[in-house]
């Protein structure tokens, strides 16, 4: 469907596109514009004073530069780690339990309830940190760029891992065979064939991580200290500390410029080539030949180190959950869990309900947006793609505030309802799903869809029976991400939670601010368990629905 005749040819899709635009318009564009107006219309006139004021301040200019630098480095490191892990599970012969273990560990940092992991990190790498003591490193100052970078890279690399794995698994190993038979060493074949074919995933993962890091204020809030101001944190402080909503919002809008730039770059980068590796003529079923001894060694070493570090951090949390008073009275106790089940049951249930509602909606939305923008030629497809990314690239606080401003007065009043929380999650965290499905779609030969159409399936039928099952790994990745964030995200929802809905992470945050470290840890442990259980169920559910395709290549 390269021609622009989709609309004429396929009127059935028009309602779909209209619905998408309505949804995006309502939950992304409308709040965005409302916030823009609040920010830049002063006394009924357009005024950029807010922005000017902010950027006349050299500290904020520094913050912008820092933000971009941080986002670039986090995107690079996170994508690198994600790629290495993806290689481990798809291109190295490992026993299945070990692969599952690796994949499971990478989920941990994603779950990392806000603040708990940062605390664990400061306990290990901070002043007097356990790891520093162990290795006898004296003067490492975690507060600043390094701490933030380490923490964000660690937190976000799983996003890259999920995106890249689903694409890597679908690369036909016959192509690698071809490279080998032309005399390339396993490593060179990896570099010249496998790696470039993963480009759609890499580009999208970079985009995601860049936006993620650009919008994240929580990590820098704890770890950046004052020498390394970043913009989202500045915006947050401006709003909550200086009670200056407009200034804060204005700062956040500045973040959109680099995000847009990366978006355009990524599109350009990916659009120039073809990455179709899932075709209608299957090569022979073949085993992956790996990436060579040296490559394998490096990959395994990196994985082992990162996994050890992650496990260490989370072990601290688990220990925290079982000790009376961390660092003081390290005796074993169930008290924290008793507290959690006493006081946290409603939060658990509420959180689960919200996550369980958001996830399927988000999944559907992600795959439809990706499909329509990639496969159908409707006007403003590129715009739709970018709009869908907008909420992701803005700091959560700002999105939260935009939502209250937009949905707290007529015509649309949603505050206090669950739907506003669900909408905030779906339209913010769906980006991961959208981007990874897009990356995955690049791999699929359009002739498969043509075949389905020619066999009498409608566009919708084709989508359901052919496209969807082929992008299931990517979609599943996106849905997991959305689910996890629906369970753990806090920045946007702090403004949207209402008296009738209480969320787990809000409780964790409370425990942290009230210095109940043990309770916070216990909550975190429960959260982690819940996420694992539900993730597993999600996977099983999708399998049970008959979606079993896991790519022609790789092991996963």
């Amino acid at each position: 469907m390269t021609s622009s005749s989709s609309m004429r040819r396929d009127p059935a899709l028009i309602p779909v596109v209209v619905t998408l635009w309505l949804a995006l318009g309502l939950f992304i564009v409308y709040p965005f514009i409302k916030l823009l107006m609040t920010t830049f219309i002063v006394d009924g006139r357009l005024s950029l004073d807010n922005l000017m004021l902010v950027f006349s301040n050299s500290y904020d200019r520094l913050a912008l530069i820092n933000s971009i630098w941080l986002a670039v480095t986090v995107a690079a490191m996170g994508t690198f780690l994600g790629f290495v892990f993806a290689l481990a599970v798809t291109r190295i012969h490992l026993p299945a339990p070990l692969r599952w273990f690796i994949a499971a560990v990478t989920i941990l940092p994603l779950i990392s309830p806000p603040f708990t992991s940062s605390i664990a990190l400061t306990l290990s790498l901070g002043p007097n940190g356990i790891i520093l003591k162990f290795f006898g490193i004296p003067d490492f100052n975690i507060y600043g760029f390094w701490g933030t970078w380490i923490s964000e890279s660690l937190t976000y690399f799983p996003v890259a891992f999920l995106t890249i794995t689903s694409v890597l698994a679908c690369i036909d190993p016959n192509l690698e065979d071809a490279g080998l038979s032309l005399g390339g060493s396993p490593f060179r074949v990896f570099r010249t064939v496998t790696l470039p074919l993963t480009m759609p995933a890499i580009a999208n993962s970079i985009l995601l991580l860049f936006a993620c890091s650009l919008a994240d204020f929580a990590t820098p809030l704890v770890l950046a200290g004052h020498q390394f101001p970043v913009l989202p944190t500045q915006a947050y402080l401006q709003i909550t500390g200086m009670y200056d909503l407009k200034g804060g919002a204005a700062l956040s809008f500045a973040l959109l410029v680099p995000a847009l730039l990366v978006f355009v770059l990524q599109r350009f980068w990916v659009s120039r080539k073809s990455y179709v590796t899932v075709g209608g003529k299957s090569g022979a079923q073949t085993t992956v030949k790996g990436i060579g001894m040296a490559g394998t060694a490096v990959v395994m070493a990196i994985c082992a180190a990162v996994i050890a570090f992650i496990l260490f951090l989370y072990a601290l949390i688990v220990m925290g959950a079982f000790t009376k008073a961390w660092g003081l009275d390290n005796s074993f106790t169930w008290e924290s869990f008793a507290y959690v089940f006493d006081h946290g049951r409603k939060a658990m249930i509420d959180t689960l309900i919200i996550a369980c509602i958001s996830t399927p909606i988000g999944g559907l939305l992600a795959v439809t947006i990706a499909y329509v923008t990639q496969r159908k030629s409707f006007p403003a497809n590129g715009l739709m793609e970018f709009v869908s990314l907008l909420n992701f690239a803005l700091p959560g606080t700002v999105v939260g505030i935009a939502y209250i401003i937009a949905f707290n007065s007529s015509p649309i009043v949603l505050t206090g309802t669950m739907s506003i929380i669900v909408a905030a999650y779906v339209f913010r965290y769906d980006s991961a799903g959208i981007r990874s499905v897009i990356a995955s779609l690049h791999q699929i030969d359009p002739s498969l869809e043509e075949a389905s159409l020619s066999l009498g399936a409608s566009s919708i039928g084709t989508f359901k029976n052919v496209t969807l099952p082929l992008v299931i790994p990517a979609l599943l990745a996106g849905m997991k991400y959305l689910f996890i964030h629906s369970m753990t995200a806090i920045s946007a929802t702090i403004f949207l939670v209402s008296v009738s809905w209480s969320l787990l992470t809000a409780r964790i945050l409370e425990c942290m601010t009230e210095l109940q470290f043990g309770n916070a840890c216990a909550f975190s442990v429960v959260l982690i368990l819940l996420v694992f259980i539900f993730n597993g169920m999600l996977t099983l559910l999708v399998r049970a629905a008959g979606y079993n395709y896991r790519g022609q290549g790789g092991n996963l």
Partner: protein, 308 residues
């Protein structure tokens, strides 16, 4: 009848308070807790269609800041006279319910290791032994931090206060987002000392960590925990009942009975806890002109002069 509320008090206190209120009046309360800045941001954003009826707790200055956006309603509580005038808004937007002084919180292991005495003067914190060891709140997010500035102004005057902080900055390891954020690291020995509201310091001490609470002999200021009604509240009657209840001796006595570490301001409540006994502490009063409007200027000055 129900009442919807935001609170800035810690959850564990707020839930007890509201429970008692329900017991006393039969009015059910739904509430959520926020940090003070978040609470205000949310109230401002919801101005056109307020979701709650009252705000409980939080320093008086967020109430002052909120007045600009007409967030709070004017209401004169029944027992207004029982609260000294200096602890309530002359415009009747808010009324104080408790005081919390600043204090120093120091890790005793650290003191032992360095053979130091617990700090008893602001100047003690400038001791190079504390280098890279102090954690305290960031002025941009935390009421605790602004209170710190007011105290210093009270002691050293405006310019002197900033000069002092510039020196102090050399010893600071981290400015935390929340007022209490540094308390746990001090308890754990990651940091040595810091400046906190007494509530937070007591919290950590009562958990049994090796910390000591001291006060600077030059004096400290205190924050006023307040409460107020939201403009356009949907449950006006219930809101008024709550404000009446909260500003009456009932709540003050409840603080004392439940060992909630605020110092009640309402007349007729006797303080029993030795930790809240302020008789040996020099408490400073900062003129209203410094709070409110000046606050923003101070914070900016703090950003530009201290942390850079």
């Amino acid at each position: 009848a129900t009442l919807n509320a935001y609170t800035v008090m810690p959850e564990k206190y707020a839930s007890k308070v509201f429970e008692q209120f329900t017991k006393d009046t039969g009015i059910k309360v739904n509430f959520i807790r926020f940090s003070s800045g978040e609470a205000l941001a949310r109230l401002v954003a919801e101005r056109n269609n307020p979701q709650v009826d009252i705000l409980l707790g939080g320093p008086a200055d967020i109430y002052t800041a909120g007045q600009k956006d007409n967030v709070f309603a004017v209401y004169v509580p029944k027992d207004q006279k029982l609260t000294p005038a200096e602890y309530r808004d002359p415009g009747n937007h808010w009324t104080g319910i408790g005081l919390i002084p600043l204090c120093f919180l120091t890790n005793t292991d650290f003191l032992k290791k360095n053979s130091l005495k617990a700090p008893e003067s602001w100047q003690d914190l400038l001791n190079p032994a504390y280098k890279n060891g102090l954690q305290m709140a960031d002025a941009r997010t935390s009421g605790t931090a602004t209170e710190r500035i007011y105290s210093l102004i009270g002691v050293y005057g405006v310019d002197g206060a900033f000069d002092y902080q510039k020196k102090l900055h050399k010893n600071v390891q981290l400015y935390t987002k929340s007022g209490a954020g540094g308390a746990m690291p001090i308890a754990q020995g990651q940091a040595s000392s810091g400046i906190f509201y007494l509530v937070d310091a007591l919290d950590i001490q009562q958990q049994g960590y090796p910390v000591i609470i001291t006060y600077p002999k030059e004096g400290v200021t205190f924050g006023i925990e307040a409460t107020g009604m939201i403009a356009g509240a949907k449950n006006q009657e219930e809101a008024k009942k709550f404000i009446d209840w909260a500003t009456s001796p009932k709540l003050g006595q409840f603080f004392v009975d439940q060992k909630i570490n605020y110092i009640p301001v309402v007349k007729g409540v006797k303080i029993t806890s030795p930790a809240l006994d302020m008789s040996k502490v020099k408490l400073l009063k900062v003129g209203a002109e410094h709070k409110g409007d000046k606050r923003k200027a101070y914070v900016e000055r703090w950003i530009n002069e201290v942390i850079r």
